[in-house]
Subunit: 153 residues, 2 copies
DNA sequence: CAGGAAGTTCAGTATGTTCTGAACTAGCTA
DNA sequence: TAGCTAGTTCAGAACATACTGAACTTCCTG
């Protein structure tokens, strides 16, 4: 298989993963996938559209979603009207932050349920198991220091 | 607010959380929410349908989704045709297992991208950051022992 | 200034999802 | 056996989502 074709195939796999696991629209997934692996790492909407085979309109809509979500960063160059996009340097930190927020939201919801059921009741005990699992997961992320990524030897 | 109304409100919040975060259909979310907090903890489809205000058909469809996903367990009683449902005892373990599977899938996808880009290249370096973050998250779950949930003092 | 490309917005189309009533099957009970 | 209830399946309605062409605005370039 040609290099380009292999890359597009990978982009598609990544896009579908993002669509299924995180519920992003297919085109947003393709943009993300493309920006993860493309060269140069910073490209214009036109270049991206050509690469993934989507319309200008779809690019505008989906780029906005991705930049609002802080996964993609827009950069302008002086004296140029074209915007260039790349994966935000903090994108992966953002992924972790979002994950923690989701876990704590569930945990707090479970806590509300425990209050509602009456602490100590059987119903509350059942909810406490869920609460504790989510609490454990959330704390795992917030309390474990992440080793700094370093250059491959 | 009446007790019952408060509970239904909580169920609705839980249902919407599941729908938004995990992409389950609203009714499946309501079933889950109801089964988490209802008394008795094991109820028939008819009881659940009445509680959350859904049709028999929707219950059949969504119960199947939830039992297939191992979040809900079906139990039959001898000499009775009615099926009873409750939150699976292992539901939260299942949540964790699914999460790990998702993390490793992304990590492996990133690894494929690194191979494709050529290890050591700039493109590969960019992907390695993503790879390492997901690897870290996956290992967090698999390598951290979870404290046994115990009765509240 | 005129021409053209980048970017946005919107209306319309296509597609997919979710829910229900109704028709059906099957088991319990009288 | 007849009647009632639990459960399943399916077709269709209602709704939501994703995508694009086209019209428009804006800004660079000649």
């Amino acid at each position: 298989m040609a290099e380009r074709e292999q890359v597009l195939d990978w982009v598609e796999r990544m896009a579908m993963f993002c669509a299924e696991e995180y519920g992003v629209p297919p085109i947003a997934g393709r943009i993300l996938g493309w920006l993860m692996i493309c060269d140069p790492p910073e490209q214009s909407a036109g270049q991206i559209a050509a690469a993934i085979g989507a319309s200008k309109a779809s690019l505008a809509t989906n780029m906005r979603v991705l930049t609002d979500a802080k996964f993609v960063r827009r950069r302008t160059r002086p004296g140029e009207r074209t915007n260039y996009y790349r994966v935000d340097d903090d994108a992966w930190e953002t992924v972790i932050r979002r994950r923690v927020a989701s876990l704590t939201e569930f945990r707090d919801l479970a806590a509300d349920g425990i209050d509602l059921a009456g602490t100590g009741s059987g119903r509350a005990e059942r909810l406490r198991v869920a609460h504790d699992v989510y609490d454990w997961m959330a704390k795992l992320f917030t309390e474990t220091p992440r080793p700094r990524t370093r250059k491959q030897p």
